[in-house]
């Protein structure tokens, strides 16, 4: 009986993955409401659960693909693989309103550029300090500090190893969680009481989930302004990470 169920789930890997990730999302939303009263966004908790499960899978099988190494969860490999990941990320661009984006103006663009370059420099330097001295690893870990999407997209494009990618996702995640939790406390100091500073905040702090969750906990009316610039963050990072930033790093440290 149990064999029969297992066989059925294994043969329909992708469908199993949809169901499994759905359950993770549901648990995360409940945890977010009950434990943190909505302060930490459900999606952030879900991603942390995903990373923990990847650790469990990696420890159980000794493989390199986390949970996807277990036959039962091989569908996770397809669902979270490069193909569907790129497909879904491109789709998010559909929600960007070009006309509204223009209203963000110069200061929003400057904030966006700074928000990509500053975290990149800090994180890439940190990678160098800790012994990741090749251009590919430095760029991947640096890009992770932009957002946890830019890290793996950049890493995949320039051929980083999986452990460096995981490190870069971890960097982006910790940043997103810090932004979510810290924003309400630092709001007054950062001058977060008007649409313009919210746009600057969205451009500099990055990570849509971190920005929207952080602003929602500060003043919910500021959310759309922050999200407006933050939605460009991942796209800009994905554009600059594997290209300009990678070339600059390679130019400095060599291949």
């Amino acid at each position: 009986m149990l064999d029969l169920i297992e066989k059925g789930l294994e043969h329909n890997g992708l469908v199993t993955a949809f169901a499994f990730v759905g359950v993770i999302m549901w648990v995360s939303v409940v945890l977010s409401k009950r434990l943190t009263f909505g302060r930490v966004h459900g999606s952030a908790i879900a991603i942390v659960i995903g990373l923990v499960l990847a650790w469990v899978g990696g420890t159980l099988t000794g493989g390199q693909k986390g949970l996807a190494d277990l036959a039962l969860f091989s569908g996770i490999g397809l669902m979270g693989g490069a193909m569907l990941r790129d497909f879904a990320i491109v789709a998010t661009a559909f929600e960007v309103q070009a006309t509204e984006a223009r209203k963000a103006g110069m200061i929003g663009a400057v904030a966006l550029l700074l928000g990509t370059v500053l975290p990149f420099i800090v994180s890439a330097s940190m990678a160098w300090v800790f012994g990741y001295r090749d251009a590919v690893s430095m760029t991947t870990i640096g890009a992770g500090a932009v957002t946890y999407i830019v890290g793996p997209v950049t890493g995949a494009a320039i051929g980083a190893t999986s452990d460096v990618m995981a490190l870069s996702i971890a960097t982006g995640l910790i940043k997103a969680i810090l932004v979510m939790v810290g924003t309400p406390f630092a709001a007054r100091w950062m001058g977060l009481d008007n649409p313009r500073s919210a746009m600057v905040f969205g451009g500099l702090a990055g990570t849509v989930s971190g920005v929207t969750a952080g602003l929602a906990a500060t003043d919910r009316r500021l959310v759309p302004y922050g999200a407006l610039t933050a939605t460009f963050h991942t796209g800009l990072g994905c554009l600059l990470g594997p290209s300009l930033l990678f070339f600059i790093v390679r130019g400095i440290v060599g291949a």
């Binding site: 999302m25 879900a46 500053l118 320039i158 999986s162 796209g235």
Partner: protein, 136 residues
């Protein structure tokens, strides 16, 4: 038709990835250069064009919107297949890099907010309590 939206998304994604690969060859690197970013720009332009010239239906938007909404679950699945065991051996680099980035960005936000002050939002309108005396 929902498939039109999904197809539009697929075409933009493929075109972006192919252009990114071509850019990589042109620049002499064995990698995809900004393919996802190019695909996103293509999709934004396609949307603007279709809105101006018609052809963007509710169903078509649903076809793209569904995949946009799936991006967090896909990222969760992506997180679940990372080589976390090896990453943890990397030590505190992720924590320190994240803290450094957040602190530096916070200081920059505070600086920009102080030099380019915007108009604060007006106080939230409070419901005016109905007057006790029976006037209208």
């Amino acid at each position: 038709m929902i498939i039109y939206g999904v197809a539009l998304l697929a075409i933009c994604t493929l075109a972006g990835i192919v252009l990114g690969d071509m850019l990589g060859v042109l620049l002499g690197v064995k990698s995809n250069v900004g393919g996802v970013g190019i695909a996103m720009l293509l999709l934004i332009f396609a949307r603007l064009y279709m809105q101006r010239h018609g052809g963007m239906t509710k169903d078509c938007e649903l076809g793209v919107g569904f995949w946009g909404a799936m991006y967090i679950p896909v990222v969760v699945a992506m997180a679940a297949q990372q080589n976390v065991v090896t990453a943890l051996h990397g030590g505190p680099v992720a924590v320190l890099a994240a803290i450094g980035s957040v602190v530096l960005c916070g200081c920059t936000i505070a600086f920009i907010s102080r030099t380019h002050k915007g108009e604060p939002l007006p106080d939230e309108p409070v419901d005016i309590a109905p007057s006790a005396a029976g006037g209208r």
